[in-house]
Structure formats: C-alpha cells, structure tokens
Amino acid sequence: MTTGAWIMLIFGCVVLYGGLVWSLLRTKKDKKTQL
C-alpha cells in the first residue's frame, strides 16, 4: 500500500476504534440497574 493509504488506515483506526475504546472505558453505571 502507498504511504498515504497506510497513514489514513492508521488515522481511521485511531479515530474510530480509539473513540470506541475511549467511550467504553468511560462506562461507570451498572450494566443492570443503570445506577
């Protein structure tokens, strides 16, 4: 793959999967009671 494609691949992974992991790590409420 070209360097540009690799850079955008890494960018996409960081933004989308990083964003998902960031939000999952912020879950504090109990899964059942929501409290």
């Binding site: 996409g12 999967y17 912020r26 879950t27």
Partner: protein
C-alpha cells in the same frame, strides 16, 4: 393501576440492539463507496467532523428524548407541545414505509444465499440478477407477476421478524447478542480472504489513498454529513423507542458515543473486505479498478458475486458467507424499524404486543408484494430515494428545531448531563441549533434542486409523483389523522 413499561434486561442488550439497528446494509454497500468517491482516506476527516458535530449530538438528542419522555416519538413530542405529536407519527410512518421495501432486499439476500451454494449466477451475474432473479419488466408501468423465489424470501423474512419481536424487548435483547457479533465475525472472514488475494493491495490503495484536494469541495462535506445521518438510524423513531425502554436515570451521552463509533468502525472495517475483493476482480479480469467499483444492490448482487465466482477455491463457501453477512446485518435494522412501529401502536392504543406486531408485519408484507413484482424494483428505487431525501431529512430538521427552539437546548442538556457518564458543554447547543439545521436544510434544498433539474433516474413524471411526492404527502396527512385519533384511556390530549 400504573402500567409497567417493559425494560431492557441490561445496558449491553440496549447497546447491542442500538448498534445492530445502526449497522445495516449501508455499512457494507454504501460507506466504502462514499469514502472512495469522496477523496479516499481524506474523507475520514469530514466524516469524523460530521460524526462529532451532527451524528453524535443528534443521537444524544434522540436517546435523551426516549429516556426523558419514556415513550414512542409521538408521545415524546406531544409531551413537549400537544400539537407536535404529528412529527413523531411522521417518523413512525417513515419507518413503516422503509420496512415495506427493506424486507424485499432481504428477500433477495435469502435467494442469493441459496444461489451461492451452486454459484448459480455463473459468468453473467448482472444478467442473472435482472432477468432470472428480479425478472425485471421494461418500466414502472408494467408490474408483471411476482417471482416465487422473492415471494418466499419475503415470507421467511417476515416470519423471522415476527418471531423476534412479538415476545417483547427481552427477546430482542437476547437475539441481538447473536445477530450483532455474527456479521462482524463474518466480515472478518471476508477481510482475511480479501486481503490475501492477488490485487488486494491495489484495491486497498484505491480505498484509502487520500486526495486532500477533495476536502475543498462542499459536496464532499455534504456527503459526509449525509453518510453519518443516514447510517445511524436517526429520524426513524428507532433510537427514541429503544431508549424509551431504559430507566429514566440511564446514561445518554456515552451510549451515543459507543453506538456512533461502533457504527463507523464496522463501516470502515467492511471497506477492507469490499475493496480488497474489488482489487482482486480488477486484477483477474485485467480491467481498471475504477471500472469495477460500484455501490448499492449493484455491488452486492452483481459485482461481488462476479468476484466470488473467480475465487481460486471455496467460492461457494465465501459466497454463502457474504450473503449471510448481508442477512445478519439487515435483520436487526429491519426489526428495529418494526419495533418503532409496534411500540408506537402500543403507546397510542394500549393494544397487546402480539397483535400490534402481527398487524404491522402483515401490512408490511402485503405492501411489500408491490416491490417483489417484476416491475417492483423501479418503485423500490423511487420510494427509497424520496423517503431518504425528504422524509428522514425533514424529520431530523423538525427534531432539532423542536429541541433547539421550543423545548430549549439548555434544559435538555441539563437533563442529559444529570444522568450521563460524559457531560457535554454548550457546544452541543450550537450543534443542535445551528450546525445540524443548516446541514439538513442545505441537504433538503440541494435534493429538491436536483429533482427540478432532472427527473430522478429518468423515470416518468407520473411515477415520481405517485411513488415519491404522493408517499411524502400521504405520510404527512396520515400523521395529522393519527394525532387526532382517539388513544387509550389516560393518553395525554
């Protein structure tokens, strides 16, 4: 006696159901193409901006409405202002129109799942799709009969949806624990197969190589906002209904982040399966990759089957995996739309869930027969275009205007911050009051301008009026009638 509203068994069930609803066929057949056509990897920048400035704020709005108002969209809007109930019905009816044809696309997928075992499309996948599967007539005026294969596919689809929905949100929660991870695993299988094929690198370069000059074109930004808006199942009442089954103190903002990032992440991942396969097809046929790139049903039922036929080994297996992926992606989007309609009926008239589910499924099946006919593909195309361009964008605009200027963003934001794990600042107010209305307004105007400039896909005017404008006007009229209709005892009027 106060009625007890059904509840999700856990937050995970709710999140999986919301992700399953957002992740549908568009993630595999629309996002990769939109990314390629709008600057390749560079498109990720406007996409991410659109996600943060419109997609996630709107998702927070819908989750917030469902959790705060504890009812379907018509209940939520009527609690804000009595005369606004019809806007909720508009989204419910738009969802109903969508299920009537979305199920037909699933019927095609069922057929192709069986065809894939023998690679029945042979060397001419395009001809097979048009003449053998759809048996397409010459135009929308000639409906012809109904091909039996699609008829049975539609019947199976509705039986499956009925069985998932009729027992309530508890069963939906258990089903999505299987139907959401399944397509992700299957896409993983397709990615591994795709990237190990000759020519895959060429395809991935096509997918991801950035063309930053495209970022100067307004249409690229509009495409990013459009992709985010239509991919997240917004404005169809689904997210309001799903979140209305959460307790009143449930998180809003973080659930919106999780759903939106998961949707984007799965779209991005699916692009690797699609473009590596397209790279292989270009390599094996010796044509330029730009000649094989396509989107929508053309990609799923013609281009990918063509590539699958040319796989070096286990072509039938990968064909079955691909169509099983489509089916598993589509099913939870379809039943989430049905759930929105069923919940609206229960909340309005207090009828039993089994009965509401049966009525909706039967009605949608009967109307869907129009799209299964030999000329049905034309009507499906017209109705889909109008619902997306005018139905959903207008509801989205209505939602942000109601919260932004009638309810007020500040009290709404104070509510969502009071229950959420991640608090949002005044930036959210600007997104709801300024950015999203402008983007949706521009989208509506540009779609309308396109309609005036030329007839959509060259269809005759009478067909566009009947399948397009009449459907939109009909939805608005019925929305008002439903607002006026007598509801269950105790319904706020």
């Amino acid at each position: 006696m106060v009625e007890q509203r059904e509840r999700w068994k856990s937050r995970t069930h709710f999140l999986m159901a919301a992700i399953g609803s957002a992740v549908g066929l568009g993630n595999i057949w629309r996002f990769p193409y939109i990314l390629y056509a709008n600057g390749g990897g560079a498109f990720l920048i406007p996409y991410f901006v659109a996600l943060l400035t419109a997609g996630i704020p709107l998702m927070m709005l819908e989750y917030g409405l469902g959790i705060k108002m504890q009812g379907a969209p018509h209940v939520a809007f009527s609690k804000i202002k009595r005369g606004l109930e019809w806007i909720g019905w508009w989204s419910i009816l738009a969802a109903f129109v969508i299920i009537t044809y979305y199920a037909v696309v699933m019927a095609w997928c069922w057929n192709y799942l069986f065809y894939s075992f023998t690679l029945a499309w042979g060397e001419d996948a395009g001809g097979f799709f048009v003449t053998k599967v759809l048996q397409r007539t010459g135009g929308p005026a000639d409906l012809g009969g109904i091909p039996l294969g699609i008829f049975f596919g539609l019947l199976i689809t509705w039986i499956v949806v009925y069985l998932i929905i009729y027992k309530g949100i508890g069963r939906v929660g258990r089903v999505v624990m299987a139907t959401v991870p399944l397509p992700i695993i299957l896409i993983g299988v397709l990615v591994v197969r795709g990237v190990t094929l000759p020519g895959a690198t060429e395809g991935l370069n096509f997918y991801l190589s950035p063309d930053f000059s495209k970022l100067l074109e307004p249409r690229v930004w509009l495409a990013a906002y459009g992709q985010v808006f239509f991919s997240l199942s917004l404005a169809m009442g689904i997210m309001i209904v799903y979140s209305s089954y959460l307790p009143k103190n449930s998180d809003v903002t973080n659930n919106a982040f999780i759903t939106s990032f998961a949707d984007g992440g799965i779209s991005f991942f699916a692009g690797f399966a699609i473009f590596s396969t397209l790279g292989y097809l270009a390599h094996i046929t010796g044509v330029d990759i730009s000649k094989v790139v396509s989107a929508g049903p053309g990609l799923a039922f013609i281009t990918i089957p063509t590539a699958i036929s040319k796989l070096p080994f286990a072509a039938a297996f990968f064909g079955a995996v691909f169509f099983l992926t489509l089916l598993s992606l589509a099913v939870d989007s379809l039943f989430s739309l049905v759930e929105a309609d069923v919940t609206a009926m229960i909340d309005k008239w207090g009828i039993r869930r089994e009965r509401a589910t049966f009525v909706i499924c039967l009605l949608a099946f009967l109307i869907g027969l129009l799209y299964t006919s030999r000329g049905g593909i034309y009507w499906l195309d017209i109705v889909d275009h109008w619902i997306n361009s005018y139905g959903l964008a207008a509801i989205g605009l209505g939602e942000v205007i109601i919260i932004g200027f009638i309810f007020g963003t500040r009290p709404f934001r104070e509510f969502i911050n009071s229950v959420s794990e991640v608090t949002v600042g005044s930036w959210w107010d600007y997104m709801i009051k300024v950015v999203t209305p402008i983007i949706l307004g521009v989208t509506l105007i540009s779609s309308f301008y396109g309609e005036i400039k030329r007839a959509y896909e060259g269809y005759p005017l009478w067909a566009l009026i009947l399948g397009g404008w009449a459907v939109i006007v009909g939805i608005i009229i019925i929305s008002f009638l439903l607002m006026r209709a007598k509801g269950k005892k105790g319904e706020r009027k």
